[in-house]
Symmetry: C2
Subunit: 175 residues, 2 copies
Amino acid sequence: MEFQLEQAVEILSRTPATLNALLRDLPVAWVLKNEGGDSWCPYDVVGHLIHGEETDWLPRARVILEHGEVKAFEPFDRFAQFEKSKGKDLEDLLDEFAVLRQNNLAELQQLNITPDQLGQRGKHPQLGSVTLRELLATWVAHDLSHIAQAVRVMCKQYGNEVGPWKQFLPIFDTK
Amino acid sequence: MEFQLEQAVEILSRTPATLNALLRDLPVAWVLKNEGGDSWCPYDVVGHLIHGEETDWLPRARVILEHGEVKAFEPFDRFAQFEKSKGKDLEDLLDEFAVLRQNNLAELQQLNITPDQLGQRGKHPQLGSVTLRELLATWVAHDLSHIAQAVRVMCKQYGNEVGPWKQFLPIFDTK
């Protein structure tokens, strides 16, 4: 499937509602348990998405449009949510994410990105040269990846409870 | 996490809304593409969940409560949706699923299942002896597994579009 800005926005615009439907007002047992070790729980995932809205996707799009490859993106802190989410409950985070996403999509629309601009290049601190198209496609894939992660982590809480059915559900073996 | 009926229902009752938020009115490119070969697209997944509501979870719970291990469950047809969904659009399927799920959860509540009954055993045609608790836990895990699948399948459509970011997103390597 080739990247089209309109189709990408269709996904980006519904992620807050998807996370709301999936997570809001669930018993904490579902949202605070992870996959063991230092893996993330659904609560951590929402905090991570918030930090992405604030520092990653749209800010980086602006860097590409304004500076091209001259100015590398700020490195993204994948663990910022562990400090930033402190004291907030999941419902606070869901509200915060929804507002940030809505504002970022409004700004994205105002940028009026042309097909030519999608091919403009920026500089990723680790990956090197990347296009605006790749950045925006990754914004979408990153959303979907973390929704899938939150759902998988919840599923895994029943790893023992499903008994012999476990063998029919390959999700229990994925990371 | 130990199975508790109330916590299980919290997940089961929100699956229709989660799928709605995720899928309703999306461009067909997002909902009709699969992972290649005979893998399923999100549209197929919703059809499969419908068939589960009609023939699997609650019907099997009733078999356990009424017949114990004397009467084995009817085998579940994992491919029924390919015939049954014909001529319906995704929005029809989402509506159908939501109604079936709501009715099944109302019936589940009327069954007034006691902790003792959760330990009652039935006979799965392949897995042999299973408990009602395991069946109901699997209903939940099955929902979550297929939500994660639908999301993953959508994500994979951008496998080429994300460019070098692919290496940061392990979801592209999972099945």
